[in-house]
């Protein structure tokens, strides 16, 4: 999958403060029967956004302000649950480019990076500030690995895997990197075969 390079994002924040927002909340399983990855944004947080008869609820996610946000701040342990990549697909299609939380589940984190969605884990105090100030305009700078708060409210850094950062900033995906290792893979396979036949 190719995506637009991501260097800095400045946007108001969309805050969903609940802890342990799992991938069944991000996109319920009944929308996983698709065979393409496009157009899932309308089902992002489907059961929060729609009544059973399809009418929209008054959830903040349905507001124009939320739809304009590119930065999502989620409660602790965001993205736990299944390995469905439909979760980041639905978020990026909804318009989100950055997810911030004090803890982000492993598979969701890994899936996000591969789809141009930047997951940022920040320390508790900074996270709390963001939870307490929904809708503030902040800047996420991947070049310096910093989140800048408004009105000179300060900055705080975040850690990100060097390789994933490179891929996100250049908009390259990992497939090219892996296929370039073809020789090493072939050598490994030969050795493994020899070991089995000992």
């Amino acid at each position: 999958m190719t995506f637009a390079p991501l260097k800095t994002v400045t946007s108001k924040t969309l805050v969903l403060p609940a802890a342990n927002i799992d991938t069944d909340q991000i996109i319920p399983a009944r929308f996983l029967t698709v065979t393409s990855r496009d157009g899932l944004g309308k089902h992002a947080f489907n059961d929060w956004r729609y009544h059973e008869d399809g009418r929209e609820t008054d959830h903040i996610l349905n507001s124009d302000a939320a739809k304009a946000c590119e930065i999502l701040v989620g409660g602790h342990n965001f993205g736990c649950g299944s390995s469905r990549e439909h979760a980041p697909w639905s978020l990026t299609d909804y318009g989100i480019r950055v997810v911030i939380s004090s803890e982000i589940a492993d598979i969701f984190l890994s899936n996000s990076m591969k789809n141009g969605l930047l997951p940022i884990i920040i320390e508790k105090n900074a996270h709390q500030w963001l939870l307490d100030h929904p809708g503030e305009e902040i800047t996420v700078d991947l070049k310096t690995c910093e989140v800048r708060l408004p009105k000179n409210g300060g900055t705080f850094g975040f850690n990100i895997d060097a390789f994933s950062r490179h891929c996100l900033m250049e908009g390259v995906d990992e497939m090219g990197y892996l296929t370039a290792q073809n020789d090493a893979i072939a050598t490994y396979e030969k050795k493994q075969k020899a070991r089995r036949e000992l």
Binding site: A18, P28, N77, D106, N111, M175, T179, Y188
Partner: protein, 461 residues
């Protein structure tokens, strides 16, 4: 240097070592695929003109979107046209690329994590991936097994490798004697409640101690299956004679079996090997468990009172579940019971449930479905007459598949209904919009079906 089980298996699979600048390139021995998380990966292959590097190390099944009923004319009642199309897409993709597929006509079709071990495709010392987070199940055999996203499914199809940094290791020691009636499901629910739903994030778990050594393979799979519910991508148990006995004479079992067993036995963690973290649990402290909230960490002994909400999120979870902090959970009315899923749909689970159903009747107004994990489990259960026990008690006996674990195939609960379920996730809406899920062992689920309320099998008269 002494090494852990995880370290040994990891080291065998490193193609290119990890550095500060890039993750390790890790070779994958077995890639399991199913209809839900693979179609977009095949699309990427086509877009890029790539082929499947090792179709011989790839194994496919259909399980998630598949109906568990068959129409009178033999056709399958798919919940939507799209679900049917998804299954067809998998079958077409695997045919095109020459991947062994256990489709409708296979005697071995089943939930991907039930089928792999049954075929002997799952073996100690392997790296196993699947686009499904409960791939951790296969760790019961001493394999490094974890769920991946669809992009990585594409990577593995094309290169048989994934990019990954080595996780930290955590040993979970459970020693002592289990209280009568406590099952593997109770053990893992206790562990998750103890370390928390995020407690395993960043770690590979190893379950150590006499409790796991004495457990059957079915039980070990139940435990490893739910490692992901503690946030850990994989959980493992050292291979031993129980493992070797299970794998003997299966379809993919190595030819020189004795030599393989000697090699596998060498994988166990060395004396003195260091883990990044260790947790100690006394077996005597583990009780029959059920969940009361909306994630698997909200689990409690069935005999206890429902915990008072500690924060807003727990309060919300209790409201969703219709539970009252401080009240007893035993005795809460149940609308549906689901016995199945890759956590608890093997023979040991079905036998345990049948022992409870035998000679009893499901409570009036309550729907119970029993869904075997695979065609093989279905045949074995029927050979033992278990299906007759279930249907005589008033439960439904269905075709194998994921069914109400994920409710993608139309098997689901109505809004507000309370389901006692042997599956692995009690997230809000997992079993249908507005449905409320209580996770439990097959014994507890069967007892609750009979009683019509949440009930410990030990309290049944």
């Amino acid at each position: 240097m002494p090494q852990t089980l995880f370290d040994k298996v990891w080291a065998r699979h490193v193609v290119v070592a990890e550095t500060a600048a890039h993750p390790a390139t890790l070779y994958i021995d077995l890639h399991l695929i199913h209809e839900v998380t693979s179609p977009q990966a095949f699309t990427v292959l086509r877009e890029r003109g790539l082929s499947v590097r090792r179709p011989d190390l790839t194994l496919a099944t259909i399980d998630h979107s598949t109906p568990t009923l068959i129409n009178k004319d033999g056709s399958r009642p798919f919940v939507t046209e799209q679900a049917g199309k998804q299954v067809e897409t998998l079958l077409a993709n695997t045919e095109e690329y020459g991947i062994e597929t256990h489709g409708w006509e296979s005697e071995n079709r089943g939930i991907v994590h039930v089928m792999g071990p049954e075929l002997g495709a799952t073996q100690p010392g392997m790296t196993i991936v699947c686009g499904d987070s409960h791939t951790s199940t296969h760790g019961a055999f001493g394999a490094i097994a974890f769920g991946i996203g669809t992009t990585q499914v594409g990577h593995v199809l094309a290169t048989q490798c994934i990019l990954m940094r080595k996780p930290k290791t955590m040993a979970i020691h459970v020693n002592g004697t289990l209280v009568d009636g406590v099952t593997p499901k109770d053990v893992i629910l206790h562990i998750i409640a103890k370390i928390g739903v995020g407690g395993g994030t960043g770690y590979a778990l190893e379950y150590c101690g006499n409790i796991f050594e004495q457990m059957s393979m079915d039980g070990r799979m139940t435990v490893c299956n739910m490692s992901i519910e503690a946030g850990a991508r994989c959980g493992m148990i050292a291979p031993d004679q129980t493992t070797f006995d299970y794998l003997k004479d299966r379809k993919f079992t190595p030819e020189d079996y004795d030599a393989a067993c000697v090699d596998w036995a060498s994988l166990a963690t060395d004396k003195g090997a260091a883990y990044d973290k260790e947790v100690y649990i006394k077996a005597e402290d583990i009780m029959t468990m059920v969940t009361y909230g909306t994630h698997p960490g909200m689990a409690m002994p069935i005999a206890a009172n429902i915990p008072i909400a500690a924060d807003e999120a727990e309060e919300k979870a209790l409201i969703y579940m219709g539970m009252t902090g401080g009240a007893k959970i035993a005795g809460v009315k149940v609308d549906r019971v689901f016995i199945g899923s890759c956590t608890n749909s093997r023979m040991e689970d079905l036998r345990a449930a049948a022992d409870i159903f035998r000679g009893r009747t499901v409570a009036a107004g309550l729907t119970t479905i029993v869904v075997p994990g695979s065609e093989l489990v279905k045949r074995e259960a029927e050979a033992e007459g278990l299906h007759d026990v279930f249907t005589a008690a008033g439960a439904q006996w269905r075709e194998p598949g994921c069914s109400m674990c994920i409710a993608m195939n139309g098997d689901k609960a109505a809004p507000g209904e309370l389901v006692v379920s042997t599956s692995n996730r009690n997230f809000a809406g997992r079993q249908g919009p507005g449905a409320r899920t209580v996770l439990a062992s097959p014994q507890t689920a069967a007892a609750s079906a009979i009683a019509g309320v949440i009930m410990d099998a030990g309290s049944l008269v």
